[in-house]
């Protein structure tokens, strides 16, 4: 987490003084309270719901506060097929999310079009919005989504900028 205990040795200060940087504390907070914006358009969304429900319980990782307003979220989960009619909506929702924001492309359809190689389907949302973590699968299991959230958390801890942001840690 980037916290260093100092003052070892002297009894009155032992373990009571912590040094860190603002960035690390802020990232620690961000990491443990990701607020997902669900963009569920197909069967992957069912798995997303299962991930949030009691059996898999995404709240164990601090990401249970699903917000249906993009302005209150910092993690976009694209779960499902995106048609050419839906893509402007998705782009607009992504644009409305405040920085810093992360994007998970959940499942084969969102990541590459899946089996739907047709005139109406976007062949991967990363052509139009930056994606941080891809999840393979059709649909992926809830464990895969949890793994993706943990990978986003790792990215945040490491201090790396999200794909869509030049740099937020100036």
């Amino acid at each position: 987490m980037g916290l260093d205990f100092v003052g070892q040795g002297a009894a009155e200060t032992d373990g009571n003084i912590i040094t860190t940087t603002i960035d690390k504390v802020v990232n620690w907070g961000r990491k443990n309270s990701l607020w997902p914006m669900p963009f569920g358009t197909a069967c992957c969304a069912i798995e997303m719901m299962a991930t949030l429900a009691s059996k898999f319980d995404l709240s164990r990782f601090g990401s249970e506060a699903i917000r249906f307003s993009p302005r209150q979220s910092d993690l976009l989960i694209v779960s499902g097929r995106i048609s050419i009619k839906m893509m402007p909506v998705l782009k607009r929702i992504y644009d409305q999310m405040p920085d810093p924001k992360w994007v998970i492309s959940m499942g084969a359809c969102a990541s590459c079009g899946g089996v739907f190689d047709t005139y109406t389907l976007i062949q991967g949302v990363d052509q139009f919005i930056p994606v941080d973590v891809y999840i393979p699968g059709c649909p992926p299991r809830p464990e895969d989504l949890i793994d993706a959230v943990l990978q986003v958390q790792q990215k945040i801890t490491s201090g790396a900028s999200p794909k869509g942001v030049e740099s937020v840690y100036e």
Binding site: I84, V89, Y119
Partner: protein, 182 residues
């Protein structure tokens, strides 16, 4: 064998008897498909026949299940049956009066893609006809709001036509976000 004989002895469906009696000139063909009566109707009389099917008290096909179309342009055997009409508009009807299901087909030529709208008979035809317009480019005369329903408003072409490429004409790669009003 006994079952087969039984089928042959079955009386003619009431709807065919009544159509032959009242709209014989409109009836291009009649068939039976998996227990459903299929009739092919001339386009000029299509509205009158559909109105008759709905309003006749004995038939009473009050439920319009579906309106769709078929593009037969790459199916020579189908094309030549009805004077090389490229499209076949298909109405699926259902009667609660014991007549069951009925399929009404209307051949539509490519050089005259208009057909009367049946929204006046069945309100539910509204979106179904919009979908058929969107996918096949068939114009429904008298429709209150004939716009695309599935594809974006600025989409070019009718994707369920057989000459439309499966992977599109590049719509999914070229994208103009400014042009679309979300």
């Amino acid at each position: 064998m006994s079952e087969e004989n039984q089928v042959e002895e079955e009386p003619k469906p009431l709807v065919l008897e009544k159509l032959e009696a009242n709209h014989a000139d409109a009836l291009l063909a009649q068939d039976e498909s998996r227990g459903t009566v299929v009739v092919v109707i001339h386009k000029a009389q299509a509205y009158a026949v559909l109105e008759y099917l709905k309003t006749d008290p004995e038939l009473a096909y009050t439920f319009l299940v579906d309106v769709t179309a078929v593009d037969n342009s790459q199916m020579e055997s189908e094309l030549m049956q009805f004077d090389y009409a490229r499209f076949m508009v298909v109405y699926q009807l259902y009667s609660y009066q014991g007549q069951g299901r009925l399929r009404v087909k209307v051949p539509v030529h490519e050089n005259d893609l208009s057909i009367p709208s049946v929204t006046g008979l069945w309100q539910g035809a509204n979106w179904l006809e919009r979908e058929t317009y969107d996918m096949f480019g068939i114009n429904f005369d008298g429709h209150p709001d004939l716009r695309r329903i599935l594809m974006p408003d600025d989409f070019d072409g009718h994707p369920l036509r057989k000459d439309y490429p499966l992977r599109g004409r590049g719509e999914r790669e070229r994208f103009n976000f400014d042009k679309q009003n979300v």
